[in-house]
């Protein structure tokens, strides 16, 4: 097995204690940092698909994301200043009145693993705060809004519409237990992901990446 393939396998199986050493060995063997990163991103794509299909569960996704972050730590000093690996900045938050953070945290991990620079606004985020965050951060390409309660779906709508009013070209992706594709269409969101596993591929799809 090549060193890169080994890294890929370790990320997919969530072996966070072994990934850093494997990444270093891969670099030492002459593999390019970008290629190693791409392999890890591909691994997380596989993990996301397996989660969406019910083949794996949240713990497996969490340990894979943790393993990836351990690998990225090794690559970071080498790739510092090289913006080519970033897909842009994504602002994410759970909408106003909603304190659920687990699903949101999973999506943050999956988008980060796919190559987005994530700005996590946390929970109970007022609509205006998403707009402020667009202004305060560089290269924002995507807003991701999560809502877990039927009662906070109006806040999801408000968040999307506030962002769209202030930044008409900004893409917005939504998700959460009560959210459906129909509801996402109704509130003019650009994309909807039914679960964390599919969030990264949907985000890339609506950005044409």
């Amino acid at each position: 097995m090549s060193k890169i393939a080994e890294v890929k396998n370790l990320v997919e199986t969530g072996k966070s204690k072994k990934v850093a050493a494997a990444v270093q060995e891969s670099l030492d063997a002459g593999d390019k940092a970008q290629d190693i990163l791409d392999a890890m991103i591909a691994s997380m794509g596989v993990v996301g698909d397996k989660f969406s299909s019910g083949e794996i569960f949240v713990p497996e996704m969490l340990i894979a994301a943790k393993a990836m972050s351990k690998g990225v730590e090794v690559l970071k000093p080498i790739m510092a200043g090289d913006g080519s690996s970033s897909l842009g900045t994504c602002i994410m938050g759970t909408v106003a009145g909603d304190l659920h953070d687990i699903g949101k945290n999973l999506v943050v991990m999956m988008l980060e693993s796919a190559g987005f620079d994530m700005v996590d606004l946390g929970v109970d985020v007022p609509a205006e705060k998403f707009v402020e965050a667009v202004k305060q951060n560089n290269n924002v390409v995507l807003i991701a809004c999560s809502g877990l309660l039927t009662t906070t779906m109006p806040a999801l709508k408000e968040a999307v519409q506030t962002v769209k009013a202030a930044c008409p070209d900004m893409k917005v992706i939504v998700g959460g237990a009560p959210v459906t594709q129909e509801y996402a269409d109704e509130i003019d969101a650009d994309g909807y992901a039914p679960d964390a596993g599919s969030s990264a591929s949907k985000a890339k799809e609506i950005l044409g990446l």
């Binding site: 569960f57 949240v58 969490l62 304190l99 039914p194």
Partner: protein, 326 residues
């Protein structure tokens, strides 16, 4: 006319019920035991019996454990013994008076004197250390997680002993949410390893000591865990959501377990609820899932609703369906 209990038994055994069981009508929950779980008032914050800070912000329909780095209880799973103290279970006779009187007032021919237990074993793991940490620790520190769950199990057995000695319950209503709306949190294999042996001990102990039925609450998807529920000794799974294929579950497992719920609280329990929508939902549930091995009800984990009037409206909808279908 069958009593409430007799009617329930007919439903559970595939007999001849006279009507639908109406949500929680068969359980008289004794919530006044001295060690009942602590919850904050709306707008308030408390440190509960396990040392977990719990907050109920204004405008929310439930309370949330606060899991910032400072307040999290278990900061290192390998050192969990340094952080975890089981709540006190020894209380004076005086402290038990209200619960004993409440239990004594129940007509046991009509209803089950029901002990209540929450949070459950899985919930305790993430209450004490945050969901993400708990879920990763099942992989990364399995031995420590087994030890911790053994500790919780012993606590639950001690709790059961106290409750049994004082109020002699006929039923147990036990919370432990095992999934989200669309999936279980753990794979079935991991669930089997960590939780099935523990719950077999706990539910077995209650049953060895006079409890006739075990009602387990998990308002989630958990269809893949039903065989384990049966193995553990659960008689009724309360909170079964429509994301489970309830008709299929009833057909496959109805002889061994009864399903309670079938109407998702999130759909009907809202500020602008209507009787019409509730009627429609219960018509769907009663028609699709039938008269046997099924108890229509909201998925909510107590005989309450988040918004006033919804629980009673659900009862009314069930009465209407009983008149129509029986």
């Amino acid at each position: 006319m069958l009593t409430i209990k007799e009617n329930l038994k007919e439903v559970m055994t595939g007999g001849n019920p006279e009507r639908f069981v109406k949500q929680y009508e068969f359980m008289e929950m004794i919530m006044s035991v001295p060690m009942t779980r602590m919850k904050p008032p709306i707008g308030g914050e408390i440190v509960n019996e396990w040392g977990v800070t719990i907050r109920w912000p204004e405008g929310q329909i439930g309370s949330f454990p606060v899991h910032d780095d400072e307040l999290i209880v278990i900061k290192d799973i390998c050192e969990w013994k340094d952080y975890v103290n089981a709540p006190n279970l020894k209380h004076s006779d005086d402290a038990w008076k209200t619960a004993i009187a409440q239990a004594a007032a129940v007509n046991r021919k009509e209803k089950y004197v029901t002990a209540f237990m929450a949070p459950g074993l899985f919930e305790l793991t993430h209450f004490l250390m945050r969901m993400e940490n708990a879920l990763m620790n099942f992989y990364e520190e399995p031995e420590a997680m087994h030890e911790l769950i053994d500790f919780f199990t012993q606590y639950e057995l001690d709790y059961a002993r106290e409750v049994i000695d004082h109020i002699h319950p006929d039923a147990l209503f036990h919370h432990d949410d095992w999934g989200s709306q669309i999936s279980t949190f753990l794979s079935p294999a991991m669930f089997e390893e960590f939780f099935v042996p523990a719950y077999k001990k706990i539910y077995g102990f209650w049953k060895e000591n006079g409890v006739e039925i075990i009602v387990h609450h998990s308002d989630s998807y958990a269809a893949t865990l039903v065989p384990y529920m049966i193995e553990m000794g659960i008689d009724i799974w309360q909170g079964v959501m429509t994301t489970n294929n309830i008709s299929e579950l009833i057909e496959k497992y109805g002889n061994d377990i009864t399903f309670m719920g079938g109407v998702d609280s999130g759909i009907v329990d809202k500020p602008d609820w209507t009787q019409e929508q509730i009627n429609t939902e219960f018509r769907r549930a009663c028609t699709n899932y039938g008269k046997l091995y099924f108890i229509p009800g909201l998925s909510q984990g107590l005989a309450i609703s988040s918004f006033p009037g919804v629980y009673e409206a659900a009862d009314e909808a069930i009465d209407n369906m009983s008149k129509e279908m029986f």
